[in-house]
């Protein structure tokens, strides 16, 4: 087959096909859109991280001496909003999902490339609204927007924040819609559902959640904005409304949203564990079904965020029971990853280090979720740092590690360069140590009774030592996150050129050059092999580079 070349004589790739800002801002190539997203979500990650550092600085001392109380409320609100809506929700689907899904199924692009670009622009518009909100003085409702605080009592930029969430939600919906149609309709011949990589299954499950759940939070924030603008009483108890109605609508999305955030990471981990154990996944069908199971059952548990808010005891009992059920498919996945590694030929490249971190930390985070699902325990630890630690274990220990794992694993494919493995391992170690030092003390703090969202704990100075550990950990974590930024950028110029398949991994993406050409495949692949056919791939993972 003829290989296309550009003027300089190099092979034509999606990166060098066209230059100039217009070719990027008006692209419909899923791979370029993935990179547009990569730049944007990295930007927001550092904004959210900046707010986190301010929070940790304030909490170094018991007294509220760094910022005002209202400012502190803004810090944790904006940390949450930016991290959740502008980093965690889009990160894996919009960057790795966009880049890899068409290639993994043997297609030339997503089903709707122009809608893909629209998704990015909507994300950017939402992002601009968020930045505006921050610069205009911030918002201090908590990322949860609860009325009547958000509708009646605050003078801050609630409406623009609500609008930012609404617009970015629409971006999320369109991405999910695009993925579902793509996975159903654009698979290459022979790529049956049973041969799909679990990364694809994971994004399919995630997309179902995005399509079903996001519209409900959209209407919830619209109603908050309307209530605020027109002095309505839909959620205001003095005007006949029920604040809990907002919470029901909000959490109907926001609980499944946590699965939007974690499930793509689970897909990444499956790919990496198989590659670096040189084995097929244990229990492929169970893993695929577990992903869909998480998506479905995840919609049945939302009011476990409302146990002490005033819902009826009987509803609380129902939701508590359902919350236990949702842990089952996640647990199945952890067992199957472990079984995959058993008697595997394991090597410890950076992606695998992050994957190990994910499996351990996600398990801890998930188990503490079960503690919280028990009504008796939840009454004591809700709204304390126990909850904060729980969700950071899953989101940061789980999700961010999975994201970094994926970025390292597929970086050679995306950029055509190898990252420096030594630095990769060092960063992974720093992230792991920094993470645990930051968040493990928070479990203890919560158990001891330290409330969340409090800017001053001078009534309980015994909390200080653990807070100091936590802040120290956050600093190490920050260094751990900065390192990949630096060496990924470095590698784009000085990194070793990557071969088609640097890891000798299974999967269609490793059969095409690094980086890929614009239309991915020279000829449409016809798939005749099962996923994770490591028993047929004889080579081991190359050791050093």
């Amino acid at each position: 087959m003829a290989t296309a070349v550009v003027e300089t004589g190099e092979r034509e790739t999606y990166l060098n096909k066209e230059y100039g800002i217009k070719s990027w801002l008006l692209t419909v190539d899923h791979k370029r859109i993935a990179l547009l997203y990569l730049m944007s979500i990295t930007f927001f990650f550092f904004i959210g991280g900046f707010f986190a550092l301010l929070i940790r600085l304030e909490l170094l001392t018991p007294a509220g001496d760094l910022v005002e109380a209202d400012t502190y409320n803004k810090l944790f609100t904006m940390h949450g909003m930016v991290m959740i809506f502008f980093f965690l929700i889009p990160a894996v689907p919009a960057v790795l999902g966009n880049f890899l899904i068409p290639i993994m199924i043997g297609a030339k692009d997503l089903a709707f490339p122009r809608i893909n670009l629209l998704s990015w622009y909507l994300y950017i518009i939402g992002g601009i609204l968020m930045v505006y909100t921050i610069l205009a003085g911030g918002v201090d409702t908590g990322w949860t927007f609860y009325p009547p605080l958000s509708t009646e009592f605050l003078k801050t930029n609630v409406v623009t924040a609500a609008l930012a969430v609404f617009v970015s939600g629409f971006s999320s919906i369109l991405t999910g819609l695009n993925f579902i149609v793509t996975i159903h309709r654009m698979r290459a011949p022979g790529m049956t559902w049973n041969r799909l990589p679990l990364f694809v299954w994971a994004h399919y499950a995630t997309s179902i959640i995005q399509v079903l759940g996001t519209p409900v939070v959209a209407i919830a924030v619209v109603l908050v904005a309307l209530e605020r603008l027109f002095h309505l009483g839909i959620f205001n108890p003095t005007l006949g409304g029920d604040p809990l109605l907002f919470q029901h609508l909000f959490w109907f999305y926001s609980h499944p949203a946590v699965y939007i955030m974690i499930v793509p990471g689970m897909g990444i981990v499956s790919e990496i564990v198989c590659c670096f154990s040189r084995k097929r996944i244990f229990g492929y069908k169970a893993m695929a079904l577990a992903l869909v199971g998480i998506a479905v059952v995840g919609f049945l548990v939302w009011a476990h965020h409302m146990f002490v808010a005033g819902i009826s005891l009987y509803a609380a009992l129902i939701f508590s029971l359902l919350s236990y059920f949702v842990a089952v498919p996640s647990a199945i996945k952890v067992f199957n990853w472990t079984a995959t590694m058993y008697k595997g030929s394991i090597t410890y490249q950076t992606p695998m280090l992050y994957a190990f971190g994910f499996i351990g930390l996600f398990t801890i985070g998930g188990l503490t979720g079960l503690f919280l699902a028990a009504l008796g325990v939840d009454v004591h630890v809700t709204d304390t740092y126990f909850v904060v630690a729980h969700f950071h274990y899953i989101m940061v220990g789980g999700m961010v590690m999975a994201y970094l794992a994926g970025m390292h694993f597929w970086w050679p494919k995306i950029s055509g360069r190898m990252y420096p493995e030594g630095w990769g391992r060092l960063a992974a170690l720093l992230v792991f140590v920094g993470f645990n030092l930051t968040f493990f003390p928070q479990f203890i703090l919560g158990y001891m009774g330290m409330p969340r969202r409090y800017w001053d704990y001078s009534k309980a100075p015994e909390f200080q030592i653990l807070n100091v550990f936590s802040t120290a950990g956050a600093t190490i974590l920050a260094v751990g996150y900065l390192l990949p930024m630096i060496y990924f950028l470095w590698s784009m110029r000085y990194g070793k050129p990557a071969p088609d398949n640097p890891w000798n991994a299974a999967g269609l993406e490793w059969t095409i050059p690094s980086p890929p050409s614009t239309f991915n495949f020279d000829e449409q692949p016809v798939v005749t092999w099962e996923a994770y056919n490591y028993d047929e791939i004889k080579q081991e993972v190359p050791v050093a580079h």
Binding site: H184, L212, V216, L244, L245, H248, F252, F299, L300, W302, A303, I311, S312, L313, Y314, A315, I318, F319
Partner: protein, 95 residues
């Protein structure tokens, strides 16, 4: 493309059925059926909606099973939202 093309007669027939349903709904609203007023109104609305979905939106003649699965899924999750929310509201005053 082997698409089923419905006849004008069918469309007009469905249209008339929808109009009849509207008239019936308004009429029934003025009759005291006790707690059944709501049920009757919603049932008629549902029949009208089903007619629109099956015939105007061509779902009856769709060769894709996915279309029907997608519709059922949407209704199911809407039902979950309504039912589990009412599980709270309906039991708040229980002792």
């Amino acid at each position: 493309m082997s698409e089923h093309i419905s006849s004008v007669k069918l469309y007009v027939g469905i249209w008339l059925a929808l109009l009849a349903g509207t008239g019936l709904t308004v009429f029934a609203a003025y009759v005291d059926l006790g707690p059944f007023n709501t049920i009757v109104a919603l049932s008629i609305a549902t029949i009208k909606a089903v007619l629109v979905v099956l015939f105007f939106m061509h779902v009856k003649y769709a060769h894709e099973r996915m279309t029907k699965l997608v519709i059922v899924t949407a209704i199911f999750f809407l039902f979950i939202l309504l039912a589990l929310s009412m599980a709270d509201y309906g039991t708040r005053l229980w002792t």
